[in-house]
Subunit: 351 residues, 4 copies
């Protein structure tokens, strides 16, 4: 249960409510966010709202039926919209295209790809500088050098950047270079990392783990939200599959399910979700049709030469063919494709 205070509630009123909550046998926790709100924790008994109703400064009592609270629709009936510096939004009425290579490999590769995906309609550049890998013998990314190249690509193209922070100690450095910090599927339940990104002052893109329930995903988001970062984007990227026809089993039903459960934006990653280039475009279309707020696509100018995951990367020209299809599909459900002026760019809307 959450007690939401009125805008102008006084400090004394807030303290009185917290004191009353404690006297009822609960812990009273100030919840970060625009609204002054106080959560009741520390007991599994369903709390009784009666003693709190009508106290000075109390706006309303929100009962939360889900184990996640700040992430729930009950807490915020309106959709959370994440706005980038360029004005591009994720979670608003339109659908965002996020694209770029699996990993930063070189200046030429990242700048060329960034230009190509921007021209094709992407509003956020994805690329890994730190690459958590299953095998310690696989390419682990360029690290800090990769982050510098991402900043360079940002300056050259005006595209904001999303890139992964693989551990708490890398978060400050990643936050310097990235507009959005990604938490990878392997780290979805890495609480220390979730808390670190929740304090970094950047929106967070949180990928669903390969065997995580939606409740577990939303509880992972809750770790971030409780640190005060309200801009969390959820990403479906496929579940562990018993059938080798696709690398992972993309659970697109998670999109409408999440949209019912939470106010947070929901996107899909059909590149990791399928693992095969030929299936990326159909599943990107399907994700938009299912109601995704965005799609994240691996694009590489020369997939065969990619340092990682080349088999699932599409080419810039394939992306350029796909985006108009996504626009038509979005239109079928009353949405558009996000098209915004890149950071520091002279370019206007790309019609």
């Amino acid at each position: 249960m959450l007690v939401v205070m009125k805008q102008g509630a006084s400090h004394a009123q807030v303290e009185a409510v917290m004191s009353k909550i404690r006297s009822l046998g609960y812990e009273a926790v100030r919840i970060p966010g625009n609204r002054v709100a106080i959560g009741l924790l520390g007991s599994d008994r369903p709390p009784d709202a009666d003693p709190l109703v009508g106290m000075g400064g109390v706006l309303r009592i929100v009962r939360i039926s889900q184990p996640f609270r700040l992430a729930s629709r009950e807490w915020s009936p309106e959709n959370t919209v994440v706005e980038l510096e360029t004005g591009a939004t994720i979670g608003g009425p339109d659908v965002a295209v996020i694209a770029g290579p699996c990993a930063v490999e070189s200046e030429e590769q990242i700048v060329e790809t960034a230009r190509a995906v921007r021209d094709a309609g992407a509003v956020l550049l994805r690329a890994g500088a730190f690459k958590p890998r299953t095998s310690p013998y696989s390419f682990q990314g360029l690290g800090e050098r990769g982050l510098d190249l991402l900043s360079l690509a940002r300056r050259e193209t005006g595209l904001p950047i999303v890139t992964e922070a693989p551990s708490p100690e890398t978060v400050p450095l990643v936050a310097e270079h990235a507009d959005v910090i990604q938490v990878g599927a392997r780290n979805m339940q890495n609480a220390a990392l979730l808390q670190a990104v929740g304090r970094a002052g950047r929106p967070v893109l949180l990928k669903r783990g390969p065997a995580a329930t939606l409740q577990e995903l939303l509880l992972a988001a809750e770790y971030i939200l409780l640190e005060g970062e309200s801009r969390v984007i959820l990403c479906e990227r496929g579940l562990r599959n018993f059938d080798s026809h696709s690398r992972n089993l993309l659970d697109l039903t998670a999109i409408p399910s999440l949209k019912e459960l939470t106010h947070l934006p929901v996107i899909a990653d059909p590149s990791h979700g399928t693992g095969h280039r030929s299936k990326v475009a159909p599943m990107a279309r399907a994700a938009v049709a299912a109601g995704a707020d965005g799609v994240m696509l691996e694009v590489h100018p020369d997939p065969a030469a990619a340092a990682s995951d080349g088999g699932q990367a599409i080419t810039p020209s394939q992306l350029a063919e796909l985006v108009p299809q996504l626009r038509d599909i979005a239109a079928a459900i009353g949405r558009g494709i996000v098209r915004e002026i890149p950071v520091g760019s002279e370019a206007g809307h790309v019609a």
Copy 2:
């Protein structure tokens, strides 16, 4: 390996090829279908084509890299198109809407629903007369009485019928009433049933089992194809799920995967695939966007009163809203929605 004979190949030429195959240590099997073709079975050694190339009447040698043969793209590069009596097609350029209640419950219910789904744009009426159920205590369908009501609905509306045959002995009876015979997910590997429907002279709608690989699905189709029935429609209806947010885990990536592996039509069932009414429309849209040749939807005039699976049924008016969205999404990938003159109907195309 398959040896395809020329159109005018003589009986003697065919016999000579079969004799040669046997002399090489394989079994020679005449494959049903339009083309005269002879399969080499009975050994796991990759056969050597040399002795067969150039024999009289031999058109070409088809090497099949998959364990399924007649179902493979290698066997038939062109798509199989299933044509119903009305002229409506499944597997052609356009997308077919199949709709109706989970089960036939009464004359009024089935005729009313049939009219509603026809008017909304469906070209095939689905409804169960025999209902295989997990529990022997659940409603098992009206049986033969249900088939009679389906025939009545067909006469009243002109809509062809797809309904399930749950066992070999019910196949002849179902074939009398149905335009398409359904094999349910529980029976996907019921070989006796697959063989019985393969001999019934009707197209077959084969649902993927809840833990079946695509290879297993295509090998199940192969059982039907080997009996001489080439009109097999594959249906993705969701896999066993560890997360209760959806009843099953709809594997939409199976659609582009199957389209690569096989020439058979592929449809999706978002009703069983999700199990929740609110998710049926998003996932139907997603299926079309992913390239499905059709969607099969549970529609009930009063879902709350349905004898089975009411929670996943949409209403006729929800279907009427959905079909135009499906049309727009199909258009985004260069397809239309199948709209044909119902059987015996005076009505023209429903614009």
Copy 3:
């Protein structure tokens, strides 16, 4: 809910109870079995027992909390013990070893293997005459000829036979030759087959499907029990696996779980459950340690030459080494290994 009548309850008393049940809005169903019992079906409302308590001839009212009824522990607190003609039991205090080849291949193979597994301690010979296979191109078994060879092996060795009936029409023939009829994992929800074996007058060995819940398995058993056959043996044989280290994922926890839920015997099949010869013995030992009432093992005199599943077959000498380990493990939990006089045999207990 079930109403159990007293031993000497009169026909009129039974009719009165059934009439009362109908007047309460339920269907009244006579349940097969030793006890005269009447089940209440046809409504999801939890029935009210009050009007039935104290009626003439009523012994007690059994509330069943599970969707399966006859299969539940509530219906029968005592274990069901399946007794073979030899006196060997499955489901009693001791653990039964069932062994034999995947498929009957020849007279020599089956008789030789039967002798070897009998001498090693098996009390039931397993072998397939009808072999349902994923691919129509795989060896499908010798069919009726295989059944004749099984009968021959029975005469030669005194071992009773368990073999699969793949379809309703094969049940009468299989019942002539087999002591126990097997329903395979692919057919676990083939209701027509379950009903046919339930009327065949033979104990049934029902294998769990590769993605079936225990509740689904017990509801499948319920189809058999409702036909009047109370001797149903449940078999865990592994679930669909995402990891290739084992062919299936043997769910041994299902053994203690099933023993809590049902009174039926529970065995495990570590041969199909693992798919690798080297893992059969460890998992057979584990199954007995987990409380299985028996293990079913594929044994072939020459695994490399087996017509099917050779990779998971152990040799007779490996079986002979395993059985004493199983005996020691059974002893650790106060059980023995079933050792009974084979049918028509002069031999006494094999110490």
Copy 4:
């Protein structure tokens, strides 16, 4: 491929080999461990051993067919045995019992439980001080205070301690108090944590993630081994389950599979693996029968009052009943139960 040098190989010989490897286009990496060995990395081409065979100081060339190298049986045919300060071993001929509460809750609780599990036959005390939880609202453990209490319990009972480090920054603190550092299932692919524990100078207990393949588990172990810590104990604790009959799906076949693939010790955790108290003992017995080098059991003096996971904890008296059964089962496969003098204890072997 790994080049193993002779014991007395000179620095110059090692340098010469590394130089040759680089000239062949590979990276040359000194592998930590007792043996001087050099790994060839950085290319997917299978390296050619010829130029290295016969170079000065080269003992032998080890070809590794698996993606994990140091963890593979090929690298070390002999089992790795982890020896605790008490002399108790994990991975040797005998089976180790590890037991204790889910979490440290109080001095009384942990000391009482430690005494009880020691007296019942445990040789390592498990208990969480840091408790990574799915929900941020769940009890997260006592943290540093919990570690102090564990050290106290160690002094009082002589039992060594295994406890979890949830993040890299907690590793040094945990290493001060723990004899073995645990990496939890949620963190199996947290590379920064794996590397941190690999440098902490303590044996590591690595739990398999709920959807991890054995290859992924062994590659996670490889991250630790590459840091120089060779004492890694692998723990099967159950996979994501679609059936609620058990909390997780304990994959006991992983035990014989891992024993084939790796030289590292393998234990099982039937408490998390099943989630139900009544199934812990059967599955602990099964794990030993399957060849586990140890079992890890949650034991709480008052399970109903436990702060976390009480439903899966057994009581000390249930443990005392179980250990003799485990001893008998171990004996059936020629093993014993590890019984060692606790740290600083006067007590001798507990017969």
